[in-house]
Amino acid sequence: MDKLKDFLLKKFKSSSSEENSGGVKVVFIKELADQLSSIRCLILFALIALTGIVSFYSAASNIGAVSEDSGANFILIRLFATSGTSLPSFTWFLSLLGPLVGLSMGFDAINAEQNSGTLTRLLAQPIYRDDVINGKFLARLFILALMTFALGGFVAGMGIILTGVAPEGEEIVRLLIYLLLSIVYMAFWLALSMLFSVIFRQTATSALSGIALWLFLTIFLPIFAGMVADTLYPITDKADALTQLNNIRIAQGISRLSPSTLYSEAAITILSPSVRTLGPVLMEQAYGAIPGFLPLGQSLLLIWPHLTGLIAGTVIIFGITYTLFIRQEIRA
């Protein structure tokens, strides 16, 4: 037994020293320092933090109306998804601006190094190509996580002071899930912008294509979805229930192709336990239902497809980016 252990240990050690060039760590640390000292990154963080804090503050000042409507349970996390008197909610801002953070971090990840001639020099060092792309992605992901948790923690703390209500255990879990969801959402856009930075040689091109896709998916796709639904199943005075139902289903189905729709729906569900369904509900179905809060497990079940969708999208896009980068000729 001991011999086996010894053997495995040796094998592991030798394989790690042979296979692992240690480049990921070096690239990771360097990229981390780069991002943290970049003004671009700071500006975007400040933008998100400011809008987030202001919207949360305005929601919190509106707390009376909120608790009157649906009781005082889960008041802290519900504030995240509540819009104030004049401002949209915190989640709305994050769903709109989160992509910008991801895009701004990744759009020049590879092509800027290509243009400045540092990429060839970097790849001439004894590291694998994987190390470069993985290190870059992980460093940015780490900063996204850092930002999100810092902001979420700050806002939640502010909420406790403003409302004077101590959070319940489940609230904290829900908040953590929400923050993780936000990280995945921004990571999706990060992966996308890194893909553009591999495909396009010019940083301006990759930035613009990222922004174009962001505008399309967050703003135009929901409008487009409504148009398609109205064309296929027009809602008139005489439209029957089935047509109306189909209209909603089509519109929802199309707009769910957009990650920001997925994110918004999932965020609302996890932050407002009173949300029971994301699709249309018939009167018959709602009849006899006792109003109340969904348990955490049920809320999670409701957003499971959203969460897996976002994670899968991120992984697939990063996978494509990785493959393209590995196969790319150094000079085309």
């Binding site: 480049g23 400045s116 060839t120 020099r121 060092q125 004894p126 590291i127 000079r331």
Partner: protein
């Protein structure tokens, strides 16, 4: 493999789509040699170097660098080979020293050795005073020199320098070439320089290879190359008065093929070395003033042009 040859290239071919960048290249470079890869832009020099580094995959053929196959074992090759790309880039918002620390970490140089090593290399390339300035503020020459320090950090056995003198002023070029010569001659490193600037390379290289359109058209020492085309030498003369030129006498000399006029120069095609003194004597006897006399084909310029013409002609035709 020959134990003396650190680089061995056999039947190497690289195609990008329908374009053949490197065409059936055979070359061996022995240890401690400074080899110059000459050729015009787009001749396939950089592609060849990239394949030697394992940064690009050959379409066919085999490469061995210190007994290693760069395609199969790129990491091992990159550990012993330093490469300075033609448009070398550094991170502009980092200082020269910070850039070197990054390279040192990527090469897993132990931390306790990094400080001394980087200090000594910066001194060697003459960047000691500028080491803590941002690279953005560096001049082209300083960047190139930082590039040399960057390449030497890993203490490579083989150094590839791609167009190292490109865009440098004469002084910067001279300094850089001094550093390179020292590498090869004193430290015994194998150096492969690619360039389209002949004179600089001529001065420091042991051997040169001439590369045209992906093909190595000639390789050897400068004098070997000169000898190869020696039989076809010509003499060019500028003298006045031109009417006094004794063309009949010269034409009757043994070894003279033809006489022609190019602009204001008389060009005598033939065995230059034997003919030149005789012709001069003849011209002096005619009371002509000689302003210029050159035996064509004896310097790199002529070698270069001749091979380029040949290479161009054979691949066109």
């Amino acid at each position: 493999m020959n134990g003396q040859n650190i680089i061995e290239i056999q039947n190497l071919t690289k195609r990008y789509g329908s374009i053949t960048a490197v065409d059936n290249l055979n070359l061996s470079i022995s240890k401690g040699e400074i080899f110059g890869l000459l050729g015009p832009n787009g001749a396939g020099k950089t592609t060849t170097i990239l394949m030697l580094m394992g940064l690009s995959e050959p379409t066919s053929g085999s490469i061995s660098v210190a007994g290693l196959n760069p395609t199969r074992e790129p990491i091992k090759v990159k550990r012993i080979v330093g490469y300075m790309p033609d448009s070398i880039g550094f991170y502009g918002d980092m200082t020269g020293r910070e850039n070197l620390y990054y390279t040192a970490k990527l090469n897993r140089i132990p931390e306790e050795r990094q400080d001394d090593l980087i200090d000594s290399l910066l001194a060697k390339v003459g960047l000691k005073d500028a080491a803590d300035r941002k690279v953005r503020e560096y001049s082209r020459g300083m960047r190139q020199r930082l590039g040399v320090a960057d390449v030497l950090l890993k203490d490579p056995e083989v150094v590839f320098l791609d167009e190292p003198t490109l865009g440098l002023d004469p002084e910067g070029t001279a300094e850089l070439l001094d550093i390179i010569t020292e590498l090869g001659k004193k430290e015994g490193k194998t150096v492969l320089i690619s360039s389209h600037l002949l004179h600089q390379v001529q001065a420091i290289c042991d051997r040169v290879g001439i590369f045209v359109k992906g093909k190595l058209v000639a390789a050897g020492t400068i004098s070997e190359l000169a000898q190869k085309i020696g039989g076809e030498r010509a003499i060019e003369i500028k003298a006045s008065p031109i009417e006094a030129f004794p063309s009949d006498v010269v034409r009757s000399m043994p070894g003279v093929n033809s006489i022609s006029m190019q602009n204001d120069m008389i060009v005598i095609d033939g065995a230059g070395h034997e003919l030149a003194p005789k012709i001069v004597r003849e011209l002096v006897a005619q009371n002509m003033d000689i302003y210029h006399l050159k035996i064509r084909g004896s310097d790199l310029d002529d070698i270069y042009h001749r091979y380029f013409q040949e290479g161009g002609a054979s691949s066109n035709g």
